[in-house]
Symmetry: C2
Subunit: 255 residues, 2 copies
């Protein structure tokens, strides 16, 4: 009875992760222990949902502040599992795969290598993670966090990386808070679609896991989407990523 | 000295159309004469910019209300001319062209025919225009206005169509205002890229002008974009288009 509609069947999962018992807790000021607890919840729930054969794609995100769409006051993240891979995620994976086929190198690794060589969009460069102000940032002070070890799947992060990420993530949010005065933001964990779920010739690429690199996007919501953005898909960003990097880097975020 | 970067040269135009001398003027309550003056400005400026060989794409839009990104209080629309066709516009034109090649019919005409036959997403059906609550609406109470006469280029609207559009547009905005209590919204006029500017095998399709239909989108901004939308490109819309149609249709908008 299989037909082409079987794959999109309306089944999904939506989970809310309560990050801390304190309703006034701020992730930008979290302790290392608190952040590791949050990241543990992220990877545990992602793994559980990836193992459910009904799902193709798992997204973890965090909306902070009303302007970023937060509807619960208590600090929380959300996990969504979908029965299909969103076109946007599929395009990213396919583009990375095509780049790998052409160059025999991961496109994300090439971007990171070039950014580290240039330097003026590097907010932080550590042993396990690099934080970039992306070249084509859609929003002022947008940030991307990339792991240094290649892996397509966020849930496969090691304990050592998890400890490092806890620090990098808190520091990044603190940079934004100190620079911009606690703006609303969206945070998304981008991971590859569940292995073997992309259709056709690209399925192998996700299995192989060599061409996609998981990463985290943080989008401060200082500007509003308007007719120009809706009509074109282009974004007006009044702050250059190099300028944003300067402001974000100069914050003292270790205390 | 031509190279592949010649086409994207950073040149653009941005014009603001002051719609009315009265700062408290509301397009939803406009007189027929006032609306025709606005539409005249739309088509005159679009034609002028389309005739400038530096531009490939002209977008007219209107941001109403702070949540929709409006930064001037005085009622106004904006015209933007770009030296490239945004990917989003190009994909729409190319998809419409491929549909036409396969079916020998305009995809927009087929959608309109089907919607008129079904009826439950038709907000208004007149001699010159049809107003639909789109099947895959991204936002609650989103509206699309389509002309009944096939044309790819909004600026080629006839005087008779202009008079009809003035009424349809005011009525549509009044429906939204009466149903939702004057929400912020974005309005966009979608027209084909300037003839002959798309590259490669699709250039002819825009010349031929048979596969794209200009239209107007109205997006009330009641919901906020958050991590789910940014992470997937999917939109959560809590109001079905059929339900929205019922509410919008029942408003008395002729007085």
């Amino acid at each position: 009875m299989a037909n082409s509609f079987d794959r999109m069947n309306g089944v999904g999962a939506h989970e809310v992760i309560i990050e801390n018992p304190d309703a006034n807790w701020d992730m930008a000021d979290a302790s290392q222990e608190e952040m590791i607890a949050v990241l543990n919840a992220y990877t545990e729930r992602m793994t559980a949902l990836q193992n459910d054969p009904r799902f193709q794609y798992v997204l973890i995100f965090r909306n902070a502040g009303v302007a970023a769409g937060a509807t619960l006051a208590h600090p929380h993240s959300q996990v969504i599992a979908l029965p299909i891979t969103p076109r946007q995620a599929q395009e990213k994976v396919v583009a990375a795969h095509e780049y790998f086929e052409r160059k025999k190198r991961c496109v994300f690794a090439d971007v990171i290598r070039q950014e580290l060589a240039m330097g003026d969009r590097v907010v932080e460069d550590g042993e396990h993670f690099v934080v970039l102000s992306p070249f084509a940032a859609r929003f002022p002070f947008e940030l991307q966090i990339y792991p240094k070890r290649h892996n397509h799947d966020f849930s496969q992060i090691t304990p050592e990386e998890r400890a490092a990420l806890a620090q990098v993530l808190t520091r990044s949010l603190r940079r934004i808070k100190k620079t911009l005065g606690d703006p609303a933001y969206n945070l998304m964990v981008h991971t590859a679609p569940v292995a073997g779920t992309l259709s056709g010739r690209h399925e192998q690429s996700v299995h192989a896991a060599e061409d996609f690199l998981w990463h985290i996007d943080i989008l401060p919501r200082l500007t509003k989407l308007a007719g120009f953005e809706w009509g074109t898909g282009f974004y007006i960003n009044p702050v250059s990523p190099e300028e944003a990097t300067k402001f974000l880097k100069e914050q003292d975020v270790d205390n």
